[in-house]
């Protein structure tokens, strides 16, 4: 039997049983963070906080929401918005956070791409990050079904139809996913289950994996410097805090992180109180009508770029292009053939590639919102082709990059 002694303090009591001191060191005070990083490295913490906001506001919405096709719409638009004291607050927080979380995810992703933080041992960070992106997308989509308004219904119809895989006519699969010929009660109930239980569980597990994947390679830095964390942390612990290139995660880095989180939260609650309407589509204030499609349907802004890659092509080619767009980011660590893990600005052609990709995705997003007519169709088509060409070109561009 392990040997226990009479505890001298609560901390000692816990230490003997849970090794809290050691855990604290591994996770916080001796988890080393480079000093040469900027506010973009706080985005991960901003995401974690936004997820917490989604969870808490979601719990309150859950107490009045009714997952039934006849009741859902009123339970949200009447009960929660008008009857429940501060019900509007939870709904606005939930809606705004669901939208803003994608903005921050995109910033976080493009930061990773810019600084090459997906290679040299950081591949698992990247992969777990992309899995988070996929599950967040599923979470956002399933949540969008719940108010059972016109946009919920028709987005549900169109997105589940994607699973018939065009020319393969897998209508049986679509009906299986829906539990009916069209989105109806079975569909609403199961998407409710996914939204409030299965997907949040998966997200929490993936956040754990994402953090674990960071622990050994540590975060990258803005100079692409290869830091010897063992040597630098010894220097720090020996008292040369100024000379060491690293600092403690807690409380040193956390204090910087929380500064950025504070600024983010001011902006976030400004949106929640004064500018929330962008997150609640007006068309979704009409109850679902299975016999009338809204005049113009489009997804939420964060799905527009991939929607625009689907739209300009005939159905099968469109689906192939769409599938390509969904998986290609995961392969980035292998498509980038260069050994350099330094900022894009020092990588010549890659830097051009990075900015072109960013601009192209913004153009796709803008075109996805506009009706598919005339010049917009053409711009959308060109941007969709450019997206595919950029990714195919990436291995060739990076293959010949000089080692810096």
């Amino acid at each position: 039997m392990a040997h226990f002694t009479k505890a001298t303090s609560v901390k000692d009591w816990l230490n003997q049983r849970l090794a809290v001191e050691k855990v604290e060191k591994v996770m916080a005070s001796e988890y080393w963070i480079p000093k040469n990083i900027n506010f973009l490295w706080a985005m991960g913490m901003v995401l974690a906080i936004t997820f917490a906001l989604l969870l808490v506001s979601g719990i309150f919405l859950l107490m009045y929401y009714q997952p039934h096709v006849d009741l859902a719409f009123d339970s949200v638009n009447y009960t929660i918005m008008r009857e429940v004291d501060f019900g509007w607050l939870w709904r606005n927080i939930h809606g705004v956070a669901a939208s803003v979380v994608f903005l921050v995810i995109y910033i976080h992703m493009f930061t990773g791409i810019y600084y090459g933080s997906y290679k040299k041992g950081r591949e698992m960070i990247w992969i777990s990050g992309m899995l988070l992106f996929v599950t967040f997308s599923a979470e956002a989509f399933s949540g969008y079904m719940l108010p059972w308004g016109q946009m919920s219904y028709w987005a549900g119809m169109v997105i589940t139809n994607i699973f018939s895989l065009g020319g393969l006519h897998m209508d049986g699969l679509v009906e299986w996913i829906r539990g009916d010929y069209v989105p109806a009660q079975a569909f609403l109930s199961r998407f409710f289950m996914l939204h409030v239980l299965l997907l949040p569980l998966a997200i929490m597990g993936l956040i754990g994996l994402h953090f674990a994947a960071l622990r050994i390679p540590h975060v990258n830095n803005q100079d692409g410097e290869e830091i010897d964390f063992d040597a630098e942390s010894k220097k720090y612990l020996a008292g040369d805090k100024a000379g060491s290139k690293v600092m403690r995660f807690a409380n040193d880095f956390m204090s910087k992180d929380m500064m950025v989180v504070g600024i983010f939260l001011i902006f976030f609650f400004y949106l929640v109180f004064y500018n929330y309407s962008f997150a609640l589509d007006p068309v979704n204030f009409d109850p679902a009508d299975m016999l009338k499609t809204p005049a113009h349907i489009y997804p939420e802004w964060y799905f527009l770029w991939s929607y625009e890659i689907l739209r300009p092509f005939s159905v099968n080619i469109g689906l192939i292009a769409f599938g390509f767009a969904q998986v290609i980011f995961v392969l980035l660590p292998w498509l980038d053939r260069s050994p350099n893990a330094v900022p894009a600005s020092r990588r010549g052609a890659f830097s051009v590639w990075f900015w072109l990709l960013l601009i192209d995705m913004i153009v796709l997003t803008a075109m996805g919102k506009l009706p598919p007519e005339g010049i917009f169709s053409t711009i959308g088509l060109v941007a969709a082709l450019a997206f595919i060409v950029l990714w195919i070109a990436l291995p060739f561009i990076t293959m010949n990059e000089k080692k810096v």
């Binding site: 139809n161 009916d180 010929y181 016999l291 009338k292 499609t293 349907i297 159905v315």
Partner: protein, 174 residues
Amino acid sequence: MHNSSRRGFMGKAFGAVAGVGAVGSLVAMKKSWDPLPSVKAAGFTTLDMTIYPEGELITEKWRGKPIFVLKKTAEMIASQTESQKARSVIVGGSEFMIAIGLCTHLGCIPSYSATEKSFLCACHGGMFNWAGEVTKVPPPRAFDIPPFKIEGNNMILGEVGPEFQAMKDSGITL
């Protein structure tokens, strides 16, 4: 040696039990997501075909999906092509365009313009003529025709009659 082979056997035995259990649960999970028998049984609708005015698009409902019914005008019948004629359903001496009113691209409901005599799908800009054929992509094929059976002046949606079977066999609809 003796011990480790015994452990190896135990590991394999557990693997076999777990494997059977895993397959069994996957089957149960798959089946629990299937549409319920009550959903499937409610899948029939009878239409009285004598009530439709000529040249006007009427939307009926079957399995929660909109069904387009258009009684063709004499002018439409006179001008139609062979392939448009092949899509016609004849009940009680009148010719009809019958179709599931969902765009074959991703399932939005296209809207009909009586003046243009054509359908426009607002979702991704697909277009169909009055007979249901595609005139502008992305939709990959003409409107699907719901399974039907003709009985006198009535039409039963959801049952497969000889006329529908013939259309299916010749590839006019899925």
